[in-house]
Subunit: 130 residues, 2 copies
DNA sequence: ATAACTGTACTAACCGCCATAGTACAGTTG
DNA sequence: CAACTGTACTATGGCGGTTAGTACAGTTAT
């Protein structure tokens, strides 16, 4: 389920949008699946309907969902591909941070290991065991 | 020289602080070097003295500079190490983004190449040639 | 048609962060 | 004393995020 961190710096509406993108990528929300209604989700997340609507607007802008008054919001065909495409821009973020780390003299191997560990277990950032 | 991007999302005072951190790491600002005065820098950057002071406060918080009324602000001994230490937290950012990319199915090699290219030339993000 | 749902639009208000402006005070240096 | 330094303070404006409340339009089921 999508969760909200009230203390995070990233806006709530963005957390919601990102959360559903993750569910789509995981296969929890297949193409054609119906999103919870704006009002329903606002109750579940203990937030404001306007904030949820803003999240849905963002998801629509990303090509993830499609909405119709009276009907509901649904996962678009090809949503996962749209998300993947948008993801590529995030690689430049990684490059930018890596450049700073390089300048700071952090060993390249340490940073590469960050990537490797992320690919080893994409879930469960905490409480990992080996 | 430290420069300001008025259209960037990151606050100006943070850009200033980050900029001087970069200069320290590059060796342009060695230990004991005197920072420009608050008022002087505010003129150079065409910004407000309060904004510069906030940047200096941030640099003090990071253990990069040390200030004294009537004297000035100076690069602390061990400033580079302090910056390096703070940098390590940024590795978790990389890990978080990499996890999303992994979930999105972006090939690991592509992400690893982001790191490698960043380490190949830490400067000049654009107009690179091979 | 009515009721109950859906998305959507709009205004108003509040809050926090950032930046600016102006003033003032305290310490150091010449 | 004059000229610099950092520092503190209040006030203001702007922007973005969130909440609140209301309203309208479209669909679905009864």
């Amino acid at each position: 389920m999508v969760t909200i961190d009230k203390f995070s710096r990233t806006p709530v509406y963005e957390q919601i949008a990102d959360g559903f993108c993750r569910e789509v990528l995981c296969g929890l929300m297949p193409e054609g699946a119906q999103m919870p209604s704006v009002r329903e989700l606002s109750v579940l997340l203990a937030t404001n309907p306007n904030t949820v609507q803003k999240a849905y607007l963002e998801l629509d802008r990303r090509g993830v969902i499609s909405s119709a008054p009276g009907v509901g919001s649904f996962i678009r065909p090809g949503a996962a591909d749209a998300i993947r495409e948008g993801m590529k821009s995030r690689m430049s973020e990684i490059t930018a941070i890596a450049r700073e780390l390089a300048l700071a003299g952090i060993p390249e191997e340490e940073v590469l290991d960050c990537i490797r560990s992320a690919y080893r277990d994409p879930d469960q950032p905490k409480t990992e065991k080996e």
